[in-house]
């Protein structure tokens, strides 16, 4: 609540800075003939930035670090007064203090000690908040006045504003990069812990996946086996089936839409196809489990085939339908962007429409089409819901699409669902699977990029 008030105060100051800065520039430009370096809005922006950026940064920093500092202060006070507490007990106690402060449920009697600690905790937070607010406002005002003072006809406001904006954008992209790096590193870290428990060779080459380990030492449970091969085989099988469905259908419909269909049909059909991409995967999932899988089972029976009620075929087919719009919509865009002059050239050589499509348009659009197919493929590999519902959890190592298989993503989900010890091999296996999946898709993308670059046909 108070944070919100401060935030709005800062916004107000920023707007004020803009108006004042611009006003000052207007006043400077006056009637005398002395041109300003930049156009007027830049002076406003310049002032606004100096008014807002430092205090907003301060506020963000405070929000990020203050809770931790407050916690540290509480626990250091506690350990100073109570030397015989273990660190776990201190953590629990601090948690109670924080919960009590925010009016939550706590795990012990509220005694005087606890109440005192909580009061001092609340007091500290309030003090630190007010200190921050005062500093932020004065930073803001200071920025406002000093930048207003520095405005002169020679101030290179445009260059400065642009410099600051480029720095801000760089910071944003750095955040994205750092997040990625952070995720990868945490994956690697946990994976290394997993390989302390399970040998790498078993994971990579083991043909048997059954991650049930004993939770307690007195349990009679499997020791667990972590061969990831069946999972990757299952993933590949389902992905393959879905691509067999999606690539021809998607490509054909893209060709139809971009080359044969009239403008009206296209304007109507394309959004419709894109809606297909917006259907939640769960919906596809029960469609697969309740309609498609039984259908395959019944027709399999009819032909005397033994189809399990959860089959790779059903999941793959439905997944293929799900990713059709990715392929068709993107390929359609790519083919549309092939210049008309190339079509004209081909027609003028006496080519028919289909010859023009296969010999000129498809080759020219190939890089884009490959990109679309790869995007669709990575969707298929990462898809979880449909597989959970239609392909089952049984880690069979098989190439038979009529049997139940499971995929990497599904296993990651089942490994982490339910109560788990965080450092059991079972839980850590999820990270290892995630990392391996990441490496596989990364490698796929790199190869694809290479292929695309090699076969790229340039046109202007």
């Amino acid at each position: 609540m108070e944070q919100l008030a401060l935030f709005f105060a800062l916004i107000f100051l920023i707007i004020l800075g803009y108006i004042l800065g611009k006003g000052r520039a207007v006043a400077l430009s006056g009637h005398a003939y002395h041109p300003l370096h930049s156009r007027l809005p830049y002076y406003g922006l310049y002032t606004a930035i100096w008014c807002g950026l430092p205090s907003l940064l301060l506020m963000a920093g405070w929000m990020a670090f203050e809770p931790a500092i407050a916690e540290a202060i509480v626990s250091s006070k506690l350990s100073a007064s109570n030397q015989n507490l273990t660190s776990d007990q201190i953590t629990l106690y601090v948690n109670d203090v924080i919960n009590l402060a925010s009016g939550g449920i706590i795990s012990r009697e509220v005694n005087n000690d606890l109440q005192a600690a909580t009061d001092s905790y609340i007091f500290f937070r309030q003090i630190s908040y007010f200190a921050m607010a005062v500093v932020a406002i004065s930073l803001s005002l200071g920025g406002l006045f000093s930048s207003l003072k520095s405005i002169s006809p020679d101030l290179r406001a445009r260059n400065k504003v642009e410099k600051i904006i480029s720095v801000v954008m760089m910071a944003c992209s750095t955040i994205a990069i750092l997040t990625t790096v952070g995720i990868v590193f945490s994956l690697i870290f946990e994976t290394l812990r997993f390989f302390n428990k399970v040998p790498l060779t078993e994971f990579l080459f083991g043909l048997h996946w059954s991650p049930q380990t004993a939770l307690r030492t007195d349990q009679v449970g499997g020791s667990g086996s972590f061969g990831a091969v069946p999972l990757f085989a299952g993933t590949m099988l389902i992905t393959f089936i879905s691509m067999v469905v999606a690539v021809p259908v998607g490509l054909m419909s893209a060709i139809y839409m971009s080359e044969y269909a009239g403008k009206k049909f296209r304007a109507f059909a394309k959004p419709l196809l894109e809606i297909l991409a917006g259907i939640p995967t769960v919906v596809y999932g029960f469609f697969a489990a309740l309609t498609v899988a039984p259908f395959f089972r019944n027709s399999g029976e009819f032909f005397g085939l033994d189809v399990s009620s959860e089959s790779a075929l059903a999941a793959g087919m439905v997944m293929g339908i799900m990713i059709i719009p990715f392929i068709s919509s993107l390929s359609d865009d790519v083919m549309n962007s092939v210049p008309q002059s190339l079509r004209d050239a081909s027609y003028a050589m006496g080519a028919t429409k289909s010859e023009t499509i296969t010999k000129v348009i498809l080759p020219a659009a190939l890089p884009g089409i490959v990109g679309a197919v790869l995007l669709a493929m990575s969707r298929a590999i990462g898809e979880t819901m449909i597989v959970v519902m239609a392909a089952g959890l049984a880690a069979n190592l098989t190439a038979n699409p009529l049997e139940a298989v499971t995929t990497v993503t599904v296993q990651i989900v089942t490994l982490l669902v339910g109560d788990q010890e965080f450092d059991s091999a079972k839980t850590l296996a999820a990270f290892a699977l995630g990392l391996l999946l990441f490496i596989v898709t990364l490698a796929m993308n790199i190869v694809a990029l290479k292929v695309v670059r090699k076969y790229r046909e340039k046109y202007d």
Binding site: L342, A345, S346, A348, M349, G350, K359, V360, P363, E457
Partner: protein, 266 residues
Amino acid sequence: MDMQNFKTREKAAMAEPKIIARDVNVYYGQSQALKSIELDIAANEVTALIGPSGCGKSTFLRCINRMNDVIESCRVEGRITLEGIDIYNSGLDPVLLRARVGMVFQKPNPFPKSIYDNIAYGPRLHGIASGKDELEATVESSLRRAGLWEEVKDRLDSPGTGLSGGQQQRLCIARAIAVNPEVILMDEPCSALDPIATAKIEELIDELRENFTIVIVTHSMQQAARVSQKTAFFHLGELVEVGETDKLFTSPEDQRTQGYITGRFG
């Protein structure tokens, strides 16, 4: 030179015109772009189509190889014959027509393929060359006739789009003549080129005249005067005047032709 000129003219005068257009009307939706065009195009001559922008030169050119079929709103009425065969109403397949009537566009538009594949495109489509050797020979002779062979013979595998603008346009000409058409249509083939490349193409057009009938649209009256034997002046969708190039430029009969020519020459 004079003697040869005289001979070709005599031959053209005696022979049946290669292309005859009678009462050709073209509409884009509701608006009429060409009004009752009557034009004879003689074989082995260069016929230039001139006129102010938007007067329908390109439209007429595209009628001759039925490229207007590709434009949805376009409707063509009247009769155009190629060696006596009506190209619109006799059931002639536009694909076969276009193999006989090639086209070069205003902006060079090589395919994003290798130089070799660009030239081989037409022969492969129409099954003209049987076997690899023959195809190679066709590619080489087309490039030679387009005056491009010496410049590209060592880089037939590199993309056609990597050539200079003038080279690209000659590549497009080579591509058009690779199927050995009878007529070549050129729509402002030099408008994107510098004077030197233009001169090369003009020279080439003059050489090609021996074997092909050429119809060229141009905005440059000097170019029309340099390369063509006949010139046709279009104005607001009408064919105002057609005649020997020398004569049309020196003593035009119609007021509008005169205005256009003198206006341009300052």
